[in-house]
Structure formats: C-alpha cells, structure tokens
Symmetry: C2
Subunit: 177 residues, 2 copies
C-alpha cells in the first residue's frame, strides 16, 4: 500500500466517540470537502443537514437499525439528494453524486483526526419516511445516508480489502465468473 | 480551505493526457484505493475492468457522448456492480458502493500525480448495453461508470464548489426552499 494514499487506507468506520465536540470550523471543512466531489454535469444536487441537537440525534438514531451509537456522536450529517436538480432528474445520477460527497466527508473526517461512520438510508422506505417526516423534508429532497461524527476513542489500523479476483483485464472471460 | 484536505480540493476532471503510460504499480495502487471504500454490510459488490488496449479504449470512447478524449487516455477503469453480491440485492446500495470506490480512485489518481475523469454510464440504457455487449458482461454485472486515466498535460487549480445555501441546520425550514 503506497503511503501517499494513506489518507484513503486510514479511513475506517468509527462508532465510538469521546465527549469532545466537533467544531464549527471542522464541520465547515467537511462540507467544503463534500462539495468538492464531482457531480454529473456539475448539477451538485446535494443537501446537507447538520444535526447537533442531542434530542434530534437520538431520534434519528432510533430510525436506523444498527445506528444506536449515533446517539453518542458529537453530530451527524444527513446527506440528501434534490431530485429536481439532479442531471436528467435521474435517481441513479443523484445517488452517485451524493455517494461521492459522502466518501469525501469520510476521508476529510479521517484527515482531521475525527471518526466517522456511514449509515445507510436509501433505499429503505421506512428510514426514508421517518427521516423525511422528522426533518420536514419536501418531497423532492430524498435522504440517502447519514454520517455520524465525533472524536474517535480509538483510530483503527489502516487497511485495504483489495481482492485480485475482482479485477478483470480488458473483457470478461469465463475465469472471471 | 484547510490544506490538510488538499488531497480533496486538488481533484479536478482532467481530460488531456501526455503519452506517458500509467504503470502497473500505479494501477494496482488505484485498485487498492478503490477497494478501501466502505460498502453496505461490507459486501464489496464491485468489479473493475482495466482497459489498456488502444482499440478497446476507442470502442468504449465511442459509446460515451462527451467521452471522445478517452481514446487518447493511457488507460481506463470500468467500474461495474455485481447485483448478486450487493447488500439486499439492492441497485441503490450497489450504486452507492461503486460511487464511493470511484471517488477513491479519482482522489488516489490525483495523489499519484495522474489525471482522471469520471464518465457516466448508469442509468443510460444505450451505454449500459454497448459496454455490456463489448466487454461480454454477464447479466448480473452492471457497468456504473468509466474512469479515464493518464498523466495530465496540465493540473488544474484546487477548488471547492462550497455553497452555504445547500446546508440546513437540524431540520428543513421555509428559508431552505
């Protein structure tokens, strides 16, 4: 693993946080990183809901199976897509754009010595509905994922899950099956 | 813009390349970076087709509107999803996972002083069909995007497209409309 890419290998899901808050400056840097992601035809069809209020964190945590740790996070970012703004009003492009922004936030958090974890929302209808209702989202704003954020109790070791079997040369062949 | 996040701000779409090849070591690093992305329930439902053959690059270029520059790239990576492996066999999760892997490749390319550009495939049916036929993909392997790669003629300036209007505090309010 090339150490020039450590900023990628160091990103791991972090679910345990200290009580230290995430500063407004740090949050702003994460949002700058998010909005530096590419988007189809540069439509930037994303919206970012910042959740700091403890009661709101607990509510959103309750909507997400395996997301109980969110209630002890310093804050969360709910990444939503605006289907009216997405290239060709395409759900696929919108999901791709939001996912690139999410990955940027995760990598930026790691580089700022924060811990983060991506919690899935879309396409689970109950999660979409609960978050939509709770955050009073209009119908064209679709929640895609939630990122929990805080200062990590422990930063896990860098790693890659590189698997040579998933790499194909030029065209598919029977050995790729 | 915090310079600790320059690895993100420096990533820009690069469409003009020198004749210098991308080395096998560099390609391997890009794939390690790709497979360090998170995926839903760690299913890693991605496949990466490496295209180096000039005739194949030209063919794939012909399938992609605005992708003519791909024929002068050193190589390309076609990122595909395996719907049979995706969490809950969900197209949405599969697209999210592949998009995070794509973003990692783009950032890794930048860190290795390469130039890269993300070319959209999914959900365009003609592009999916042409790439599927040309690369002889089985029906459960769905092309999501293509990344063109090479040594940049010129590296563009770092930037963010940060827009404060896209940030919401806690819950949606009428001023967010």
């Amino acid at each position: 693993m090339d150490s020039k890419l450590d900023f990628i290998f160091k990103r791991r899901s972090v679910r345990k946080y200290t009580n230290e808050p995430v500063s407004a400056t740090q949050l702003n840097s994460l949002l700058e990183a998010a909005m530096s992601a590419p988007s189809a035809v540069a439509k930037d069809p994303w919206r970012f809901i910042i959740v700091r209020d403890q009661k709101n964190l607990e509510a959103i945590s309750s909507f997400l199976p395996n997301g109980s740790f969110l209630s002890s996070a310093a804050c969360a970012i709910i990444i939503c897509g605006d289907i009216n703004k997405a290239h060709a009003n395409s759900l696929s492009y919108m999901i791709q754009d939001c996912s690139a922004a999410i990955e940027n936030i995760l990598l930026a958090a790691t580089a700022l010595n924060l811990g983060a974890c991506w919690l899935g929302v879309h396409p689970r209808e109950d999660r979409i509905e609960n978050i939509t209702n709770f955050c009073k989202l209009p119908s064209h704003i679709i929640p895609i994922g939630v990122i929990s954020l805080g200062h990590p109790v422990k930063q896990p070791e860098p790693r890659s899950r590189y698997n040579p079997k998933l790499v194909i040369q030029e065209k598919w062949s029977t050995e790729n099956n």
